[in-house]
């Protein structure tokens, strides 16, 4: 056995490790390559069998690309733009609201009374019953529900009641995501129909924000809690307000977490199919819907689908490459004694 430095692998180990890594890379990257070459195949060639090498097995053609971009033109561009707007806006909103909620849960101490929570549920049920019974319109029902809740909480403010804590609130927020969103698709549809915003960007943005916010809270809570509280206390003593501490200390130090979480939320929104299917018809159609729409009566048109998939993947891949450095960087080195 030749002398080796500590940590250096033997040639055999190197072969095995690199072999595994290359093998796995092929497994991951091959489908992308397959989609790419399918997009330059003629319809007949797609069904011919596994031909993977352009110019050798088959002659590539740009007919599908031409169809999607030129013939369909705005029919492709509009869903693409919709996806960009909807995914972008819902990510920003979910991050903004979720990050503030996560920070509040990490640093402030909430002790809501069980009594108040019970009153809220009662008033919620009351409002629902009022709407369901058709006695009043929904604005009046909502307003009176809120009013009754406020009055009853104030009236019973002196009554003693067991209290819950931050961990309970956190669990409740996260548990919103345990319910598959599709279960609520029909109620959401009816709600937007009543308000009259079906098939608009706003409806889908609101839905995605609501669905993704628990994930943001869940992930960002850990990142915020991991920031040494000393730093925030020191800034507090130096004279900074709570909001200033959040803006100047916490957010910069949580940048890796913010980048990772926003990327995740963006991907979720970008790829989302089911809720977009329910809530849009023509104007607010997103790219996943367009991809699925290539499944015509004659069978799936893989060539058109592949083109759409390629242009759907590209922005997300670019964004991931851009943010990956930020995610990998360790920003907390050297702050605390360590």
């Amino acid at each position: 056995m030749s002398d080796r430095r500590l940590g250096e692998m033997s040639p055999l180990t190197k072969i095995v490790v690199y072999g595994l890594l290359i093998g796995w890379s092929l497994i991951v990257l091959f489908p992308l390559y397959w989609v790419l070459i399918t997009s330059v195949k003629l319809p007949g060639q797609v069904g011919d069998g596994p031909d993977y090498l352009p110019f050798i097995d088959f002659t590539p053609s740009l007919h599908a690309w031409r169809y999607i971009f030129v013939d369909l033109g705005s029919d492709t561009f509009r869903p693409y733009l919709n996806s960009v707007i909807i995914a972008g806006a819902s990510t920003v909103l979910a991050m903004a609201v979720g990050a503030c909620a996560a920070y509040a849960l990490a640093r402030l101490h909430f002790r809501p009374r069980l009594l108040s929570i019970g009153l809220f549920l009662v008033c919620l049920g009351l409002g629902v019953w009022m709407i369901g019974s058709g006695l009043v319109g929904w604005p009046i029902a909502a307003a009176s529900g809120v009013a009754i809740f406020v009055i009853s909480v104030l009236a019973l403010s002196r009554v003693r009641s067991p209290r819950l804590g931050n961990s309970d609130i956190l669990f409740w927020v996260i548990s919103q995501r345990i319910l598959p969103p599709v279960v609520a698709a029909l109620p959401i549809y009816i709600m937007f129909q009543q308000i009259g915003i079906l098939d608009t960007h706003l409806a889908i943005i609101l839905t995605y924000t609501t669905v993704n916010m628990p994930i943001v809270v869940w992930l960002m809570y850990d990142f915020f809690a991991a920031i040494p509280i000393d730093i925030e206390e020191s800034a507090e003593l130096d004279g900074a307000s709570r909001f200033r501490i959040f803006r100047e200390m916490v957010l910069p130090l949580a940048k890796p977490g913010l980048a990772a979480t926003s990327l995740l939320v963006l991907i979720l929104s970008w790829n989302e199919y089911l809720l977009a299917l329910f809530l849009s018809t023509a104007r607010a159609q997103t790219i996943p819907l367009l991809v699925a729409a290539q499944n015509a009566t004659r069978g799936p048109q893989w060539w058109y689908m592949s083109v759409l998939i390629v242009i759907m993947i590209v922005p997300v891949v670019l964004l991931t490459i851009l943010l990956q450095r930020l995610i990998a960087k360790g920003l907390l080195l050297g702050a605390v004694k360590g």
């Binding site: 206390e233 020191s234 130096d238 004279g239 920003l331």
Partner: protein
């Protein structure tokens, strides 16, 4: 500016952390809060800063009652044990942050930062980031950030505990000097009695939330108020003998000591520091025993003696229990030597005797 804790108590739920703490500093005084972990010293400091609320009592800075005032409006600066430097800001930005928050102009901030940086020898490091600094340098940045505001009081939470021993000794001197030059009231928390003795104008010793004694280093060393203080201050700790007291004499299985105190007590503890004892020739001393061990400290020899009649004791510390022979420590000149297990006699200087009642309270004449 003085800092006053007026009968301050603090409980976290049912756990009482501080009980009726009553401490007032003088203007420009260096006050040390000394105690083991769990004694409540850090909680007391954080209450002065405003990072913890009081359960009862008041906190005053100068003449102002700041009990309900937010930390940022109390005009105190704190140096944390971990330094709490802002990792994404440079040294200059760290030091200048308090001024920037207060809205001072950039030129004014630069001037003051440079001034303070040169006072702590950081002027060459202003562009660096905390992760590029050594422990001692980071500590100086934390100090500079506190100094730049010229606050009413400095609060320091064990700032030297993360430094190596040599640097610690050096920084102790520097800290003392800096505080003296600036004349700013400082409240300093530590568990290290040597730090307390060397830095403090006065020391407040805390144990389990209760103030044991407030006095100058000399007072707490020479004139401890109770058994806890006597055993906590001094290295090696004060020797403690249990026995009876009658006819002006302390009686113990190891011997009899004249104290001159005219009281009769069934249970009393006699304390005497190692430097107030001497191993003498046989039958010349008042206590007898066997030599257990000799340690050459350098400028003196520390002799440990098992006194006659003492039984192995079980000592229950905070983290473990161990059995030792109950040894009596005597400081001898550095050339002293004797065979182990030899019989020895110990004589005791009368002015070094401290007597404590059964409840630990110091008995004065």
């Amino acid at each position: 500016m003085t800092v006053v804790l007026d009968r301050v108590s603090k409980s976290f739920g049912r756990v009482e952390v501080l009980r009726e703490l009553d401490v007032a500093t003088g203007d420009g005084e260096f006050l040390v809060l000394l105690g083991a972990s769990g004694s409540g010293k850090t909680t007391a400091l954080r209450m002065i800063a405003g990072l913890e609320s009081t359960t009862s009592g008041r906190v005053l800075i100068g003449e102002r009652d700041v009990t309900q005032v937010l930390p940022k409006n109390r005009d105190v600066a704190m140096v944390f044990q971990s330094y709490a430097l802002y990792p994404h800001k440079s040294v200059a930005e760290n030091i200048g942050y308090p001024l920037r928050v207060r809205g001072q102009s950039t030129s004014e901030i630069d001037r003051q930062v440079n001034e303070v940086a040169s006072q702590v020898q950081l002027d060459k490091l202003l562009g660096r980031y905390p992760r590029q600094l050594s422990g001692g340098q980071r500590q100086r940045v934390a100090l500079a950030r506190a100094m730049v505001r010229r606050p009413a009081a400095f609060l320091m939470d064990e700032p030297l505990s993360n430094l190596d021993a040599k640097l610690r000794g050096h920084m102790r001197t520097e800290l003392r000097r800096m505080q003296h030059d600036l004349g700013i009231t400082t409240v300093y928390v530590t568990h290290d009695q040597i730090e307390a003795m060397t830095l403090a104008d006065r020391v407040a010793i805390l144990e389990q939330g209760v103030l044991q004694q407030l006095g100058t280093p000399r007072e707490i060393y020479e004139d401890p108020a109770n058994l806890f203080v006597a055993g906590f201050i001094g290295s090696p700790p004060m020797n403690q003998l249990r026995g009876r007291h009658e006819n002006g004499r302390f009686v113990n299985s190891a011997g009899t000591i004249d104290t001159g105190l005219q009281r009769t007590l069934d249970s009393v503890t006699l304390g005497i520091r190692p430097e107030d004892c001497r191993i003498v020739d046989a039958s010349q001393g008042t206590l007898t025993g066997r030599l257990y061990a000799l340690e050459l400290i350098g400028d003196h020899v520390l002799a440990s003696v098992t006194l006659d009649g003492s039984t192995p004791q079980v000592h229950t510390g905070k983290t473990d229990a161990f059995i030792t022979a109950d040894t009596f420590a005597v400081k001898m000149p550095k050339d002293y030597s004797a065979p182990i297990d030899a019989r020895v006699d110990i004589s005791v200087a009368r002015e070094g005797i401290r007597l404590f009642a059964a409840n630990g309270e110091r008995l004065r004449r």
